[in-house]
């Protein structure tokens, strides 16, 4: 993985992609320019789990309650100073259509991830050495001479290529090539790249000697990619729930400042082999009266080392303490923690700098 933080000179995303494109044109490779398309993040905004949705609705695999039945619990309030959440991890990506090669869309993504540290003064600063920035090409694994030529040039330029198409069983026929579906798959692949890079940042972070000696906690915006010590994930947007039936009714009816009792999902289908077991619960941050039942509802994912009600309450109270200040400039403010909002702005500025001059940016 290429990790760099420079946004100057020939290392920028724009320069690298443009150079490849110019070489292709010069050599007469049959590709069509798509660089003026808007970023996929804009195209798929609000589309939920694009390319990730199970084909037959929401799958319920059941949960294992760890605090007795799933019920609502009032979260004890604490002074903000008592919170041990000091670090926040997030990532951002920007994915652009670059070329069309026959029926295959060729895209490229630039991903940034990092850790924000909240000082005792309340100031948020990007923790030095944590920023990861990566460029990847997204080229479907379709046999095509032009695509092969493209792959060769990209490899020669020292850049990485990801095939967004799902793994196929040996000897299986290639599915029918559909431009729109491949486009969605490219976006899904970009999200996965981002998750992978976030996971890398988290892993490097938790392996630091200073972290082990520390007693503060880190919050990951989104799912917790590994069951790391003193780390929690905050999932703020979801289309499926781990709870069903009366449990789901309890979750959707949570009053503000309350949580469900915790549970562990029986099947960890969202995580890889090394992900470890998770403890989960839901928290309602703000009053949802008159609003969508999922308004201000977040899911907390914690490593299984968090086990007692006292610990879960404590973590929940830290989350509640993060409700203010509110990032009201962002439509997701009801579930978006302010330090995460700050970090997002920093990362997006890095992406802006790296993609400055891109025709579709």
């Amino acid at each position: 993985m290429t990790v760099h933080v420079s946004n100057q000179g020939p290392q920028s995303f724009v320069d690298r992609v443009n150079r490849v494109y110019a070489d292709l044109r010069r050599d007469g490779v049959a590709v069509s320019d798509m660089r003026r398309s808007p970023a996929m993040e804009l195209q798929f905004a609000g589309a939920g789990d694009v390319g990730n949705r199970p084909p037959t609705g929401t799958a319920r695999t059941g949960v294992e309650p760890v605090e007795g039945p799933i019920v609502a619990r009032r979260i004890p309030e604490i002074s903000p100073r008592e919170s041990r959440l000091r670090y926040f991890l997030d990532g951002a990506q920007r994915t652009f259509s670059v070329l069309r090669c026959g029926l295959a869309p060729v895209a490229a993504t630039v991903v940034a991830a990092g850790v924000l540290r909240r000082d005792p003064t309340g100031d948020g600063v990007l923790e030095p050495g944590t920023l990861a920035l990566e460029h990847r090409w997204l080229i479907p694994g379709i046999p095509d001479p032009a695509l092969d030529a493209l792959r060769e040039r990209i490899a020669a330029a020292g850049m990485s290529i990801v095939d967004p198409m799902p793994d196929r069983a040996d000897g299986a026929d290639d599915p029918a090539v559909d431009f729109g579906h491949l486009h969605e798959l490219a976006y899904k692949a970009a999200q996965e790249i981002r998750a992978e890079i976030e996971k890398g940042v988290l892993t490097r972070w938790t392996q630091r000697g200073e972290w082990r000696a520390d007693d503060s906690w880190l919050l990951v915006d989104g799912r917790l990619p590994t069951a790391s010590f003193r780390s929690i994930g905050l999932v703020k947007q979801f289309t499926e729930s781990y709870l069903s039936g009366d449990d789901a009714i309890t979750m959707l009816g949570l009053p503000p400042g309350s949580r469900t009792t915790a549970f562990t999902p029986r099947v960890r289908r969202h995580f890889g082999e090394d992900s470890g077991e998770r403890l989960m619960w839901y928290i309602r941050l703000w009053d949802a009266d008159g609003l969508d039942a999922r308004h201000s509802l977040v899911r907390i994912e914690a490593p299984a080392s968090v086990a007692t009600t006292e610990e879960i309450d404590e973590i929940s109270s830290w989350i509640l303490a993060e409700r203010t200040p509110r990032a009201t400039g962002d439509a997701r403010w009801a579930t978006l923690l302010y330090p995460v909002h700050l970090l997002e702005r920093m990362l997006k500025r890095r992406l802006d700098a790296d993609t400055r001059g891109w025709p579709g940016a």
Partner: protein
């Protein structure tokens, strides 16, 4: 002509510049305070791009001393950009004030400090003062690039204020204080006894060629009375001009009009007392020069010295005391010199301090040339004007002569009852003239004599000037008619001398307070026309106008438009909304609304943007304090009956300093001598040397000693 393809030449860039390896940051490293370091970064956005005249930068969190009015440096591609910090704004990502309210009040327990501090960035606008390109022959206007911003060094400030382009003598007008620390030779911050750092200060220079001519000229002060320190700064600037021109061998004099109390009557007395006067200064609570003032004078290269070179106060007589009664053909001013104290309309009237005071007395003759100043506009019709010109042609010089002429005309009509006119003037017109002229003596009481005035060797208010002479015309206690006539007459006469090149010095500065009264916007005639003329042509004729007023918007636009230098003190809100201030930024206007005493906004021909600065206490004692100390009665008065003699000798133009005795010496010599005899000696010396020392052998102090010795030995 040889045409060279510059782009083909490796030593040149495509723009034709020599491909220098030096960046402006390197070349102008002496412009930036590297020791303090970067204090912010230039930002230009789509909505607020950086421009040639204004750009913005955000301030570093630790640049806490940075503030409005400071001078900073940024860079464009090939130039250093120096500007003055203007409008500050703090930004946060909060969409509405309500957000913060709800953040803190929506639920119990949220009222305290928030767990994460919402970032607030401080962005300052910068008004560009100067841009210095790598090449001296390029006048760059390219905006600053996004990049670091530094505090400017004195070298950068000097450059930004056009010091390199000065053609005349640099005159320190104000002191600019920046937000960075002053440093010693080792580069360490200089600290005060209390541990606070001393901020970097640098003079705000103005170019004498643009203040006193010939390139530009004139200065103007505006601001609220009592709060704007207009007169104090005018006195300070005059002192600076006098000192700097003297050092360069140029001659200069000034004429001021004292319009209020004792404001300008004690400009020959120092703000820093002589050792023997310290107790008296302290007793009346006179503000002494503080150490910071003395430091400022040192930094500006000035001495905090009063105008004791040649200081003269001119005043008319008190109403009803003008010499020359009915029947007196002439009045000789030089013969009554010894009896003038108490008769002139000035509150500096203590005999021992009366030395610099000189009388003003006019006769009718010269005034017949300016009838519009003598009579009300409604009275002065063509018929009366014609009769007045007849009187002038007949050589009428005094009211007594006029009365004689009237008697002659009356006799003519008595002898010829059938006649209705005399020399073509209807007898009713003559009757009207007789009536109006009859009231002049009272209308201009104290100023207009009935007789012909013969000044003898008494210095004249409208006579040629001596080098370094400060001439104050005291009209504070005069009624309006006298004030207007006197101001008009004196300025017109000085202007006439300028046209005839008989000023006696290279440059004469005329200071006129209450300019909105003498040259009101929209007015016409009289003094306004003369002042406009001075403003327009004075710089070529070596007369410059220093004007001051409370309301700039009410002063004639031509006068203001011709001022190469302007100073603004505190301005009231009803005034600042006027168009006269439209070129100032909103922040600058807000600053002016609450400006502290001793701080002014300056504009000068060399400055691209106005600049705030401070000045030390003026080098002379406050007028009111001077009045109490030197003119008072009782314990607070320090005056000795020999002080007047000392002042007269010291003020003799051209007297070498080594022949000026110390005050203590004069006081000792006067001990035991009747004060009236001392006064006689003073008058005699004053008369003998009214025109200064013309004979190098002359020794006024020795002459005075002889007179005193004779008086002492007289039985």
């Amino acid at each position: 002509m040889t045409v060279v393809d510059l782009t083909a030449h490796p030593a040149f860039t495509a723009n034709g510049h020599h491909a220098s390896t030096t960046s402006p940051h390197e070349k102008y490293a002496n412009f930036i305070d590297e020791a303090t370091g970067v204090i912010g970064r230039v930002v230009g956005s789509e909505k607020e791009p950086s421009g040639a005249h204004v750009f913005a930068f955000w301030a570093a969190d630790d640049a806490t001393t940075l503030d409005v009015g400071h001078i900073v440096v940024a860079f464009s591609e090939e130039a250093a950009v120096v500007g003055v910090v203007d409008e500050p704004r703090r930004f946060s990502d909060m969409k509405s004030f309500l957000d913060d309210y709800f953040d803190r009040r929506m639920e119990e327990g949220l009222g305290g400090e928030l767990i994460t501090r919402r970032p607030e960035m401080l962005v300052f606008a910068v008004r560009v003062l100067a841009t210095r390109h790598l090449r001296d022959d390029v006048d760059s206007h390219r905006p600053a690039l996004g990049g670091p911003v530094y505090f400017a060094t004195p070298a950068a400030i000097d450059y930004a204020l056009g010091r390199e382009d000065f053609t005349g003598i640099p005159i320190p007008a104000l002191m600019h204080t920046n937000g960075n620390a002053a440093r010693d030779a080792a580069g360490l911050p200089i600290t005060m006894p209390d541990g606070n750092v001393v901020f970097q200060r640098s003079p705000i220079w103005i170019d004498s060629d643009y203040l006193l001519g010939p390139e530009a000229g004139h200065a103007n002060w505006t601001g609220q009375s009592g709060l704007a320190t207009k007169t104090s700064h005018a006195v300070f600037l005059l002192s600076a001009v006098f000192q700097k021109l003297k050092a360069k061998g140029r001659t200069v004099a000034a004429l001021m009009f004292n319009v209020k109390g004792p404001d300008l009557l004690w400009l020959d007395k120092p703000a820093r007392p002589e050792p023997e006067d310290e107790a008296a200064y302290e007793a009346v609570g006179s503000r002494l020069l503080r150490q910071q003032d003395l430091d400022a004078y040192t930094a500006l290269g000035l001495e905090p010295a009063p105008f004791d070179g040649c200081f003269r106060i001119f005043a008319p007589f008190k109403a009803g005391q003008a010499p020359g009664g009915h029947g007196d053909a002439t009045v000789r001013l030089d013969e009554m010199r010894s009896s003038l104290a108490g008769k002139l309309n000035t509150i500096r009237d203590k005999p021992s301090e009366f030395g610099p005071v000189q009388p003003i007395l006019l006769d009718l003759g010269p005034l017949l040339g300016i009838p519009h100043k003598l009579f009300d506009f409604g009275d002065l019709d063509d018929k009366l004007s014609s009769f007045i010109y007849e009187m002038r042609d007949l050589g009428i010089q005094s009211l007594n002569q006029f009365d004689d002429q009237m008697a002659e005309i009356d006799a003519y009509f008595e002898a010829e009852p059938s006649k209705t006119d005399w020399r073509g003037h209807h007898k009713y017109t003559i009757q009207k003239a007789k009536n109006r002229f009859g009231g002049l003596h009272h209308k201009f009481g104290g100023l207009l004599s009935r007789s012909v005035v013969q000044p003898g060797d008494v210095p004249q208010v409208d006579g040629p000037f001596a080098n370094q002479e400060l001439r104050v015309v005291d009209i504070a206690n005069c009624k309006t008619d006298v004030q207007e006539l006197l101001v008009t007459r004196v300025i017109e006469r000085v202007w006439r001398m300028a046209e005839l090149q008989t000023l006696g010095v290279d440059t004469v500065i005329i200071f006129v307070d209450e300019l909105n009264k003498y040259a009101a916007a929209g007015s016409q005639g009289g003094l306004r026309d003369t002042l406009v003329d001075i403003a327009a042509r004075g710089r070529h004729l070596n007369v410059v106008l220093f004007g001051a007023q409370q309301f700039r918007s009410k002063v004639d636009g031509e006068i203001l438009g011709n001022c190469g230098t302007s100073f603004y003190g505190r301005v009231g809100d009803e005034e600042i909304v006027n168009a006269a201030y439209r070129s100032l930024s909103e922040t600058t206007k807000q600053e002016l609304l609450g400006l502290k005493k001793g701080r002014l906004l300056s504009r000068h021909a060399h400055f691209r943007a106005p600049l705030f600065g401070t000045f030390p206490l003026k080098p002379t004692i406050d007028g009111m304090m001077g009045q109490r100390i030197f003119n008072g009665q009782g314990d607070t008065s320090v005056s000795h009956h020999g002080d007047g003699l000392w002042a007269v000798i010291r003020n003799i133009p051209g007297l070498p300093p080594e022949r000026v005795p110390s005050r203590h010496e004069v006081r000792t010599a006067c001990e035991g001598v009747d004060p009236r005899e001392v006064e006689k000696a003073m008058q005699q010396v004053s008369t003998a040397y009214a025109r200064g020392v013309t004979d190098p052998r002359a020794n006024p102090w020795r002459s005075a000693q002889q007179i005193l010795n004779r008086a002492r030995t007289r039985p």
